[in-house]
Subunit: 324 residues, 2 copies
């Protein structure tokens, strides 16, 4: 779901999903700006990428949503589907602390779709984008016999003389936060979440974060991406995690027998931000912005859960897939 | 196929296809830059649109291609499919005389696709883009059980202090040209065409065209778009048209009993440019660039064919659809 060569999600560790993650790794090596240096450019392996070779304040991202995978047209209104197709891109902007500017929307509409449905889909995306200053300014409409597919790409800007917040800046000793509780978004929030665009700008201005990412494929998997990009590990605090479990995660846990924490760690599409801050940021500063601490960056690679008694267990770096 | 809220094509005049064109018209009225003026912005109703509100030299376009509609994965290599997905966008850049800069590529891959096929698809698009200075710099990979869908969006620039060549500048008395022969592209050229990016830049610099568009949905339909945007009509010369019929159009005509001229006028995906020049451009100037004259812009609306004896018939403004 996230913007740059990431699979929509990684479900249980079957070979095909591993194949998809592997595809992304291989693409990251072969595509991208020619001769790019990770210092000079924002590109593959982040939520957005640099659209021109000479300006790292102009960023782009794209997300494709498919009926039956990312939404269910039998259940969700076309307006809500359009809203989500826009919102997932705005969440990528938030992850980079970038201000969305405009969107392009390409659709392959199922041939049975009515004119009203097609208009509602576009209107839902456009009007939600407008709330964030991001109208749909162009697109491509197609119809075909297969399920409806929507691809929205968004252009965004970071303020001049500032740089986007990347995912590769986490350092041992940094504290890890989330912008809200997670887990169980499949119960409805994955369609109705509010992208953290404005909060992300406040975080960048006031707290100077070392790294950010949005939670599209699951807290563990997306934090794992920060750790991989930053070449470090993390230790999450059991009681702190307990405090950021969304009520939906508890509700879902009752139904399916998995633990609420498992839903928190591995469900996708929370679309909250993971924020990595230097240790010296005063508590009142991140508290004022409502950030919720969950652990610390460690020099040892791997993702761990630490209990009150100091015991550690490994958290598998995997996510969750909707509708499958 | 063309970049901005256009159907991939319009086939025979069944109600669904009319519905799709009508959808595009309605979208053009509701989406776009808020409060936009057609003078100030390049937006809906052209091959590319302006990506930021304050800079009409930074343009974007998007095209979505679907297996079984725009390509046939049983017949075409994944590399050729990736190439086409990039090339159709580069053709939109050519239509605006814009220089492509970078691309985002979102895919929904059929779940049975191999890793090698997925890599080949991306490599085909990326390497073809690189030839035009337009690498894939970001994207989104997904898999699903339905046919493979590819959406590429391209960012492009026009030179500072110049403006993009729009489709709404044709004036009565202007001459109409194409950059190459057309018709019958389904026999293969729709996968292998060379987008007219460099030629378009020469045309803009040397000839100062009043309007341009690329032929994605058929000469008649795409010229019709220029006429609609420019609020005028056109008269095409029968013998001039005869001279721009591609050999593929003649070959196809022998097989299906339609006339070569019908293929020229209504087949899609030639991806040559229609160029509208002021009458005062000296013949040797457009001849030097290899442009082929086909007729003139008229103040009377409608599209007409004029025979040597002066007789006129109406050319229906409709295009052709592949694979259906």
């Amino acid at each position: 779901m996230a913007g740059v060569m990431q699979p929509a999600s990684e479900s249980n560790a079957n070979s095909e999903q591993r194949g998809e993650l592997e595809l992304v790794r291989r693409l990251s090596k072969t595509l991208g700006w020619p001769g790019e240096s990770s210092e000079a450019h924002v590109a593959f392996g982040d939520d957005m990428c640099q659209l021109t070779p000479d300006d790292n304040t102009l960023l782009g991202t794209v997300d494709m949503l498919m009926d039956g995978v990312d939404f269910d047209s039998r259940k969700h209104s076309w307006e809500a589907i359009g809203r989500k197709a826009m919102a997932v891109n705005l969440s990528d902007c938030a992850a980079m602390a970038a201000v969305p500017v405009s969107a392009l929307c390409a659709v392959a509409l199922n041939a049975n779709l009515t004119m009203d449905a097609a208009l509602e889909l576009h209107r839902g995306a456009h009007e939600f984008g407008l709330r964030y200053g991001c109208p749909i300014v162009g697109g491509d409409t197609n119809s075909w016999p297969a399920p409806t597919t929507i691809s929205i790409s968004v252009t965004a800007r970071v303020a001049p003389a500032t740089t986007p917040v990347r995912r590769d800046g986490a350092r041992a000793g940094d504290r890890i936060f989330v912008t809200g509780p997670g887990g169980g978004s499949i119960l409805g929030r994955h369609m109705t979440f509010e992208p953290r665009v404005e909060l992300a700008l406040d975080i960048r201005r006031q707290l100077r974060p070392h790294a950010m990412i949005d939670i599209s494929d699951g807290l563990a998997l997306d934090l794992g991406r920060v750790l991989e990009a930053s070449d470090c590990g993390a230790v999450l605090d059991e009681s702190a995690l307990e405090a950021v479990i969304h009520p939906d995660a508890r509700l879902l846990a009752k139904r399916d027998g998995r633990s609420p924490r498992e839903h928190l760690l591995h469900d996708g599409e929370d679309f909250e931000l993971i924020v990595v801050l230097p240790d010296e940021v005063p508590d009142q500063d991140w508290q004022r912005l409502g950030l919720l601490p969950i652990g610390r960056i460690a020099s040892e690679t791997g993702l761990f859960l630490e209990q009150a008694d100091g015991q550690r267990e490994t958290i598998p770096i995997r996510g969750w897939e909707h509708f499958k």
